[in-house]
Point group: C2
Chain length 207, copies 2
DNA sequence: ATTTGCCTGTTAATAGAATAACAAGGCAAT
DNA sequence: ATTGCCTTGTTATTCTATTAACAGGCAAAT
């Protein structure tokens, strides 16, 4: 099945579909309608069907979509066969939150290393993830074949860090620092600013 | 200055403009050009000028924008005079991350309470924020006049929690749980799913 | 005085996303 | 068999956001 590059928002929803479908599967359901998915995720059924159309899947008219098939298909789209290894940089609260969220989830995405500069944190494991000194960043990335890095450091170091990550061969960066990074050739960049989210809520509450 | 409801993305950027401008002000700059702001945030100068137009501000032709004026104007738009009080619900790593980020930032947004059900956390303060038992949620929200809640709990409890928050008079919810909430009448809802962000990076790295 | 260059402010065009609209299929009830 | 209902799949439309295009202004250089 040839697949053009999917829209940004569709990819985001696929991730959510899969998790919801896994939940439903665990509850013993085998088939599901677009409006059921929509209700669970609080979006519209049309949007669900459109996304499903875009990934080239088809449901049956009377029973809806086969949950298991759809989970597998989404897997072939957003996962890679071998999986992707991830590093968390910065073992503060946010870094730990990430590790905790991913802990024992058997996905293809696996956090395999953490980095920090605080001696109290280095050479310890947090929920099975070993923390290295930041000096060993390039070394470990290459040794373990890490493809994605989550930046959860203080904002000042984000930019030089991104340079090092690119040099070390990282393919994707998820930046949770409030300091926007410049795009780097060949490195996919995704950013999220928690303070901005909060200020946005404040604005729309006011308005 | 009459202001129509600003576009979503413009509001997000205003939050970033303000922080960047504060940085520049701290460095002693008094004026700034649109392309300078753009470079700092890695967006286009047109977008900056367009946003500035939307908030009804004007720069001078030769010197660009007056940083101080602009910071103040953004303040009148996204802040309220009295400020907004915020509660963090769930004192896990993520909840702590939020508190830490907001700590000693003298903004109009102030985290004034945390809630949890773990006795180890209750009745302690973390960076000046006192943690109450979740049973006292409604009571404390009303007593302190809290307007916004950040949900940083396990996903299972997010939905019933949102009901309680609405009942207690909360005006805005920031949901960091991977479980999407249904919109509630009169409550602004903003959501962010860290796992989805990560899977999105994985997809675009692959593609 | 005129030209040049570099700004801002605004309108026009384009791209991206969500929503609406609707054709077509198939089961169930009549 | 026909009707009615509820579903999917897809196209068309609307809405939102970004980007391009350009008019106007001012200071400095010529």
């Amino acid at each position: 099945m040839i697949m053009n590059r999917l829209p940004d928002k569709t990819v985001e929803r696929l991730s959510q579909y899969r998790r919801t479908l896994n939940n439903q599967l665990a509850k013993g359901k085998t088939h599901i309608f677009s409006h059921e998915i929509a209700n669970l995720l609080h979006i519209t059924p049309v949007q669900v069907r459109r996304d499903i159309m875009l990934i080239g899947y088809s449901g049956t008219l009377r029973k809806g979509y086969d949950i298991k098939e759809m989970i597998e298909l989404i897997g072939t789209i957003i996962d890679t066969d071998q999986g992707v290894k991830i590093a968390v940089i910065g073992m503060g609260n946010l870094g730990k939150a990430f590790i905790h969220y991913m802990y024992e989830k058997q996905t293809k995405l696996k956090i395999v290393a953490a980095f920090d500069i605080n001696p109290d944190k280095i050479d310890k494991t947090y929920e099975d993830v070993y923390c290295y000194h930041l000096d060993r960043l390039e070394e470990i990335i290459k040794e373990l074949g890490i493809g994605i890095a989550i930046i959860a450091t203080p904002p000042e170091v984000a930019s030089p860090l991104a340079d090092r990550l690119k040099e070390a061969g990282i393919r994707g960066i998820l930046n949770y620092t409030p300091r926007p990074l410049s795009p780097r050739e060949g490195v996919y960049l995704e950013e999220h600013d928690m303070i901005t989210s909060l200020e946005k809520v404040a604005y729309f509450v006011k308005a």
